[in-house]
């Protein structure tokens, strides 16, 4: 079991390293670099930049060095916790990303929690009461959830929330807390603002997870060990919850793994619509501006979070699946 965990962990480390290389290559892929884009924008606003000035800038940021050197320098900085400068902002990347990364995780984790809290009971109900009115109703709502694009749902819910419930919408904080230091009141304010994004980001995933849970559980309900449990004289609720539900839980563990990148990258538009101070929109601007340190750091952080999420998934799976624990 320990060997399994160590193997998984080593695999995670290697994956993270691969991600750094990939990230670096992807950032370098588009023609030109930050300086040429910067110069273009200066030129279009009328100023002239000499060749010498441009070269000086390149030297300053190390852009004149060969790729491998640039990568090595970048990695070296990263390892020392220096993520470089966000070129367009002229501020350290750390300063720009810091809170946003935390908030991104908060939003993602809330969405996962919500997904679990809804998908588990509804999935169980739909399987145990297959073809009942409730099962059909949830199926219908589920398909709506999958079919409606997230950003549209965001707009609709924002409108409804604003118009009928007088909710303050958009963003994750009320204006008075926006720049306030962390306090209990600020956390409470965050909690209130979290509901909408969590619902919007979680809905499609919830609908999918309900389908998976329902299908898995229907499979499990047909297995002989369920008959055994019934024949023991256990109450039906206990039979269902202890045995087939436990066996159908695996997909819940794997959601942790794929949710981070999904919530962050797949939801950039939602974040823009809702004005969420997460890293999604920031990544978009950074990529447009070819701000390599900023974009690189964000992509890298997301990669690490994903790998970490997968690692956590594996640990949960191992806890659910004795067979994996024994043989892994």
């Amino acid at each position: 079991m320990l060997a399994y965990i160590i193997r998984r962990f080593l695999l995670a480390v290697i994956t993270v390293w691969a991600i750094t290389v990939l990230t670096f290559v992807i950032i370098q892929l588009p023609p030109g670099d930050f300086v040429s884009i910067y110069i273009n924008s200066l030129q279009s606003s009328g100023s002239q930049v000499s060749f010498g000035q441009a070269e000086a800038m390149r030297a300053q940021y190390g852009l004149d060095q060969p790729m491998t050197i640039q990568y090595a320098r970048w990695m070296g900085m990263m390892l020392q916790g220096d993520f470089g400068m966000a070129l367009a902002w002229n501020k350290p990347v750390k300063e720009i990303i810091g809170d946003r990364l935390v908030l991104t995780m908060v939003v993602s984790i809330s969405a996962i929690m919500l997904t679990w809290m809804i998908a588990l009971p509804v999935g169980i109900y739909s399987a145990v009461r297959q073809y009942s009115f409730g099962d059909y109703a949830f199926t219908f709502i589920g398909f709506l959830g999958i079919a409606i694009p997230n950003f549209m749902l965001a707009l609709i819910l924002m409108y409804v929330g604003y118009k009928y419930f007088n909710m303050s919408i958009g963003g994750l904080f009320s204006p008075e807390f926006e720049n306030a230091p962390w306090s209990l009141a600020k956390a409470g304010d965050l909690g209130k603002h979290l509901i909408l994004p969590a619902v919007i980001l979680g809905l499609a995933g919830t609908a999918q997870l309900i389908r998976i849970m329902r299908a898995n559980l229907l499979d499990e309900l047909r297995k002989p060990y369920v008959v055994t449990a019934r024949a023991k004289g256990l109450a039906e609720t206990r039979v269902i919850l202890k045995y087939p539900v436990r066996a159908a839980l695996n997909p819940f563990a794997s959601t942790v793994g794929y949710y981070f990148p999904y919530v962050v990258s797949g939801s950039i538009i939602v974040s823009l619509v809702l004005g969420l101070p997460t890293v999604g929109p920031l990544l978009l601007t950074a990529l447009v501006a070819q701000d390599m340190f900023l974009a690189g750091t964000i992509v890298l952080m997301l990669g690490i979070l994903t790998v970490f999420g997968t690692f956590v998934s594996d640990l949960i799976l191992m806890w659910i699946e004795p067979r994996m624990r024994m043989e892994g």
Partner: protein
């Protein structure tokens, strides 16, 4: 406890005209369509018949764990049991709510179940000990520690080596034979007066099969429970049973003491079964070579005697028009066939 000789002679379980149907969109399945038999303390009743004739549904009906689409629509299942203050009473299980406290206290406590799939009849998510102790703790009101100890004792009594270690293992860590032993340990853990064994050895290799049957016999001698042994294998019946019930398409076509069934079977279906005694290692679900045709589809049950399309002695005009009933054909022996009885006048 000793209520005299007469009490012992009473059947511990009597199934009377049991009918269990499945109501499905595709049609009605009369899985059990009039089953009659009795179980006696310390005796083994064999229930034989080809695959699909309603043996397992009969077993699940007795335990009241038939799937949602199936219902007991007629008949009685009479269980003789001691109630809380030591009185013997006769309880009709068909009258109980399947989920009631009383019915649940009978499942696993008065009646234990062992069935075919030793691979999947335990959950792979909990240890053997957990799954045995769960039933013991509930029915016998034992503490966690006592229940675990009882699980270990049970594993030992079914011949599982190193039970103290096995108790904490998962089912997939045990071989098929050991798993079936553990299953028997679980079914007997609350000392039931009835054990239903539904094809308990079908999935096992020959040697293991013989060992498990010997184990069941030994346990019955020790504990005196009644065994309802469901099998499609007449070799197993010959070895294990006192009485035999032969089923065809949900109905009992013949029953009697094992010797009489083997030496003077009356019903043409039983005779055909005997001619094709499967050797002990034969696969389940093989077609019976000496019986022409195959079992009709469950939705299309023949009129008249259900066996008439395959019966070599069928009498046209009678067998395909009227339904025979189970009537005496000898001492203790009954058969349902017009070769031995005139049709009962339709009312």
């Amino acid at each position: 406890m000793d209520n005299g000789h007469a009490e012992r002679q009473q059947p511990i379980l009597s199934v009377r005209n049991l009918k269990t149907y499945f109501f499905q969109d595709e049609g009605l399945v009369r899985a059990v369509d009039g089953a009659n038999f009795d179980l006696y303390r310390g005796k083994t009743l064999g229930i034989v018949g080809e695959s699909g004739c309603g043996k397992s549904v009969t077993a699940r009906s007795v335990l009241r764990i038939v799937e949602r689409s199936g219902r007991i629509i007629e008949g009685e299942i009479l269980l003789r049991r001691e109630d809380a203050d030591g009185q013997i009473d006769l309880l009709d299980l068909t009258k109980l709510d399947a989920e009631s406290r009383l019915m649940r206290s009978i499942r696993g406590k008065d009646i234990g179940l062992v069935f075919q799939e030793p691979m999947t009849s335990f959950s792979a998510h909990y240890t053997i000990g957990n799954q045995i102790a769960e039933a013991v703790g509930m029915h016998l009101k034992l503490s966690k520690e006592q229940a675990r100890q009882r699980a270990i004792d049970m594993l030992r009594s079914v011949g599982i080596p190193k039970p103290e270690r096995r108790v904490d293992e998962y089912p997939f860590q045990l071989s098929g034979g050991l798993r079936q032993r553990a299953m028997i340990a679980m079914a007997l853990s609350c000392d039931p007066s009835i054990l239903i064994a539904d094809e308990p050895t079908t999935a096992l290799d020959v040697t293991t099969q013989a060992q498990i049957l010997a184990l069941l016999e030994g346990l019955q001698r020790e504990r005196g429970m009644a065994i309802m042994l469901i099998t499609h294998n007449l070799g197993v019946v010959a070895e294990m049973c006192d009485q035999v019930v032969v089923m065809y398409l949900g109905r009992v076509v013949e029953k009697g003491p094992v010797d009489q069934i083997f030496h003077s079977a009356k019903h043409p279906y039983t005779q055909a079964l005997l001619l094709s005694i499967p050797s002990i290692e034969s696969e389940p679900r093989v077609k019976l070579p000496t019986i022409s045709g195959s079992i009709p589809h469950p939705y299309r049950r023949p009129n008249g005697c259900p066996f008439h399309p395959r019966c070599s002695q069928a009498m046209p005009g009678l067998c395909d028009a009227q339904v025979p009933t189970l009537l005496p054909v000898g001492p203790d022996q009954e058969a349902s066939c017009f070769l031995y009885h005139q049709p009962v006048e339709p009312a």
